[in-house]
Symmetry: C2
Subunit: 223 residues, 2 copies
């Protein structure tokens, strides 16, 4: 039996935070319409009325979850992106250094996007938002995707000695990102086609090494 002054939460987290955690999972799995406020409240061990109280509405909770993803993702990628952005700020990079940064970039993205269990819920959330962009898409794009894409394109421009504004640089950056993202976006299809049940650590390393090899080949020969 709890003492009178104890908060009624199950864990130490606030109801607000538990609702956001639940939202990441439940919206990710079922989508905005597929998720009901009852599911969300149950998963968070919170009361149904806590959603309109803390977030105004179901949609408010959805946007709060998008913002949370951006914040956490920024924490994960900050060291890498700062390193790249700092290096690019000081003019053109020596080819070796740029290639090493590029390998670091793809390895880190594979680890975060494909390997991180935290990303499981996030990825579905983000992908659904891309299918039918709403207010949360701007939050995700401006807070996260743009910076990641810019870093990759900047490195590419430096390695290929082309202008950052050359559209072929952007296209190439997207294609390279695509080689990583496919293992996340089409995870079920990829796993089934490989006859795998999951991406274990060892298999992640196979993927990282394959992407590095492709990047090297593309960057060695691209015109």
């Amino acid at each position: 039996m709890r003492a009178r002054s104890d908060p009624p939460q199950v864990s130490g987290e606030t109801t607000r935070q538990r609702l956001i955690d639940a939202a990441l999972q439940v919206f990710g799995e079922f989508g905005f319409e597929g998720a009901s406020t009852r599911m969300l409240a149950d998963k968070a061990d919170a009361n149904l009325a806590a959603i309109p109280y803390h977030f105004g509405s179901k949609e408010g909770l959805y946007c709060a979850a998008a913002q949370y993803i951006v914040d956490r993702m920024a924490q994960h990628t900050a060291p890498l992106l700062e390193q790249i952005e700092h290096a690019l700020r000081n003019g053109p990079l020596p080819r070796n250094q740029a290639l090493e940064l590029m390998h670091n970039y793809t390895d880190t993205l594979v680890a975060i996007l494909v390997g991180s269990s935290e990303a499981d819920g996030w990825a579905a959330f983000i992908m659904r938002e891309q299918l039918q962009p709403g207010a949360a898409f701007d939050v995700l794009y401006e807070g996260m995707m743009r910076r990641v894409g810019d870093a990759g394109a900047g490195l590419l421009a430096s390695i290929l000695k082309r202008s950052r504004s050359d559209p072929s640089i952007n296209l190439r950056a997207i294609a390279i990102l695509g080689q990583i993202l496919v293992f996340r976006n089409c995870r079920q299809t990829a796993l089934r086609s490989l006859g795998w049940k999951e991406f274990s650590v060892e298999r992640l390393e196979q993927i990282q090494s394959l992407i590095r090899e492709h990047v090297d080949l593309i960057l060695a020969g691209a015109v």
Copy 2:
């Protein structure tokens, strides 16, 4: 005023077919839960009760739409896949012929996946089904994705002179497909990052030529 014996449909299509057409669009845009039977019936210019009558339930209509996608996609890709499958059946291919088939393969997939307006609705449908695989996922995978993936991996094995069962062949095939799929799966993000409003014919050709270049570089150097 229609004669007594005329069917009550607006167009020549049967109610059943109009419902499937509507389902492709509406489920694609809003997802299974996001789409209501009323939306579906309105879009198809059909009666609400026609859905349970023709398909048993909303879910039955959803599965019928998945089957329709598989059938149409098979029509689109049949010439290409038959050409590849036939060529692979007669033992190892000369490198030049295999490369030409590979270019044909990527060009066709870019045209269908990125360029076809028909694919707009389908792609979202398929991607949502990957996020939360249900009964329709098996229909899509077995009827479509497997054959496309197998053709690509078969070509790759032939070009790289590796066993078809070598997992690195499958991984490489997925990575190459990823470079194409990213322009479909992350269409909104890609367009925004490129500052484009749509993938025009001319831009599709840019993408096709870029993918061909990447494929050549990867296949020339891969070990």
